[in-house]
């Protein structure tokens, strides 16, 4: 007799296939970026750092990387603050209005990015309030897209949050604000950080909304990669992809750390 494996073989097979499907594009991009040949081909014709160097010396790509980083950083900060406050409101306020508001806040997740981008573009241009083709306009677009992710993660933490912790703090002499700052905020902070990192990753890779709001001198990395591939088939875009992946991996590692912390604290 041998022990039955607790996980059926079919599940294991599906997991392996899924993992492969997730990993293969990453491997392809990395290998393509390290290609020694002249064109974006796969499998690569030998390995070299030729296109990595080309990325690091390309004013277009470097500035796009910088803009993406800047836009992601600003919109993440704004999304985190707004999203955390919205989550707090949505979990604590009662009534029918709140249910409607919750659906409303989550809309950007389900709304196709092109629709949202088009809507913002038309609004910016026709309202003439100076947001068209501006950094501010682009950041607003990214805040709208990333905010729901912060709301979702923070809400998840707040739904399970034991209100008697706040009450205990109040009874021990804390003002409502002090109780929030010293207890609630501390306990949900891993969730807020996780939301922040999600927001950053999503903003950094955002394409559809950006397509409508960026201009040649306000080009994000995904836009630059797209444009580069349309006009030349150089592997620089793939090299840029390597740097994008590195940034995302760093963020993911940071997230998993925070999520672990959350478990230790017992949320």
């Amino acid at each position: 007799m041998r022990d039955e494996s607790p996980i059926p073989l079919i599940f294991k097979a599906i997991s392996v296939i899924t993992l492969a499907m997730l990993a293969i594009p990453v491997v392809i991009v990395v290998l393509a970026g390290l290609n020694a040949g002249d064109y974006l081909t796969f499998p690569p014709q030998g390995l070299s750092l030729r296109w990595v160097i080309s990325f690091l010396t390309s004013p277009t790509f470097l500035s796009a990387y910088g803009i993406s980083f800047l836009v992601a950083a600003i919109s993440t900060v704004i999304s985190t603050v707004i999203g955390a406050m919205a989550a707090l409101f949505l979990t604590r306020a009662g009534g029918r209005v709140v249910a409607v508001l919750r659906a409303f806040f989550m809309m950007p997740i389900v709304l196709p990015g092109v629709v949202l981008g088009l809507a913002l573009y038309v609004f910016y241009v026709s309202s003439g309030i100076g947001l068209a083709r501006s950094l501010a306009g682009l950041v607003i677009g990214h805040v709208i897209v990333t905010c729901p992710f912060v709301i979702a993660t923070v809400t998840a933490a707040l739904v399970g949050f034991d209100r008697s912790l706040e009450e205990a703090a109040r009874s021990l002499g804390a003002s409502p604000f002090a109780a929030f700052r010293l207890v609630t905020l501390k306990i949900i902070s891993p969730a807020i950080s996780a939301g922040t990192i999600f927001a950053f990753i999503i903003s950094f890779g955002q394409f559809e909304v950006t397509l409508f709001l960026s201009t040649p001198n306000l080009q994000t990395l995904p836009m630059a990669m797209y444009v580069a591939l349309r006009y030349s088939f150089e592997p620089t875009a793939a090299a840029a992809g390597i740097f994008a992946i590195v940034l995302v991996v760093i963020s993911m590692v940071a997230t998993s750390r925070l999520v672990n912390l959350k478990r230790i604290f017992g949320g």
Binding site: S164, E167, A168, R170, S171, L172, P176, V183, I187, G266
Partner: protein, 352 residues
């Protein structure tokens, strides 16, 4: 002074009335329990005293201060929750120091007070533990220490033992009571467990359906219940249908089947011929030889170790009797005809 006055306290949630007008005086230094079934409004009452719920109507005084409109942090009240609410992101020492830090005490004062509190609750050496490293009983001690270091005027406890296993519950019952007594702190204790209320309290307020039905010492509550609800909720009682025959001073004579028996008279006026309930605790029913008292037939006998329990049929109604299981007391078997009696002072007549 830190006695508590609740004056016509009402809390309603729309149609739903959680507390329907409570008037109570909880005395300085007393251990007062609010006892009642789940949903009767105990927690709502406690949370109004703590300041988490604003009463719809009524007034709360602590000493001579009207605190009805004060937020919880201004009331100087310590509360221990059912789940203890230990801050999970702080260790035991920081949990206990929380209230003192808010009061801007010096480092030395805080350290001294925390060390003292840890000794008081028997948790020396637990300073650096976190909530997830503490058992239920230990969490409860931390919750008490955290509250007591701030020297509150009032201590509130909401079902603090219900999350513990039975053995620990027994131990903590006496421990909390002793601690309360040694501190002399005015305490309001909420529970649905009559054992806890009777064992720990100086006085008990029995609640039902958003109201306080009776207030008294554990003995008064148990031995002189004023309502049918109180007599059936606390311990067990035989409730027998009788007809009022007449009042004789402190006594009331009632017709029970073909016989007339005496019982303690209710305070309220009762008219001759009206229906009433005769209430007797099983341990007060005396079983003797046939002919002594009312004639009864033994329906069943249940052996319970220290006690033997009999179901008896008396004039068509069932009476339960409990006797100590002692060698010199005779046992009866089903079908046997026996005599049943009781001390009139150990029975109550209640008007339904």
């Amino acid at each position: 002074m830190s006695d508590i006055h609740l004056k016509n306290l009402v809390k309603s949630y729309g149609e739903n009335i959680a507390v329907a007008g409570i008037d109570l005086h909880i005395r300085q230094g007393e251990f007062f329990s609010l006892l009642g079934p789940s949903g009767c409004g105990k927690s709502t009452t406690l949370r109004m005293i703590a300041g988490f719920i604003r009463p719809t109507v009524g007034q709360i005084l602590i000493g001579s201060d009207d605190v009805t409109r004060l937020p919880p942090e201004k009331r100087d009240i310590g509360i221990v929750f059912q789940n203890y609410a230990i801050f999970p992101h702080m260790n035991v020492a920081d949990n206990i120091a929380f209230g003192l830090k808010l009061r801007k005490k010096s480092h030395e004062d805080i350290d001294r007070a925390v060390a003292f509190a840890l000794r008081q609750v028997g948790l020396v050496g637990y300073e650096n533990r976190y909530q997830r490293q503490l058992s239920g009983g230990e969490q409860q001690r931390v919750a008490l220490a955290r509250v007591l270091v701030t020297e509150p005027r009032i201590l509130l406890l909401d079902e603090p033992l219900s999350a513990l296993d039975k053995a620990l519950r027994e131990e903590m019952k006496y421990w909390i009571k002793d601690l309360q007594k040694s501190l002399g702190i005015t305490t309001v204790y909420v529970t649905h467990d009559q054992d806890e209320a009777l064992t720990m309290s100086d006085r008990v307020g029995v609640m039902q359906k958003a109201r306080v039905e009776q207030v008294g010492t554990p003995q008064e509550i148990y031995e002189r219940p004023k309502t049918l609800f109180v007599t059936t909720f606390i311990g067990q009682s035989n409730v027998i249908d009788v007809t009022v025959r007449g009042r004789q001073g402190e006594r009331l004579s009632v017709d029970f089947g073909d016989s007339t028996v005496l019982t303690r008279a209710p305070v309220a006026e009762v008219s001759v011929g009206s229906a009433a309930k005769l209430v007797i605790r099983p341990e007060n029913v005396i079983i003797g030889a046939a002919g002594a008292g009312l004639s009864a037939t033994v329906v069943s006998e249940t052996y319970q170790g220290a006690l033997v329990r009999y179901r008896l049929s008396v004039a068509g109604q069932e009476i339960v009797a409990e006797r100590q299981n002692q060698a010199h007391l005779a046992r009866f078997s089903p079908g046997e005809v026996v005599g049943v009696s009781w001390d009139p002072d150990r029975s109550e007549a209640l008007v339904a």
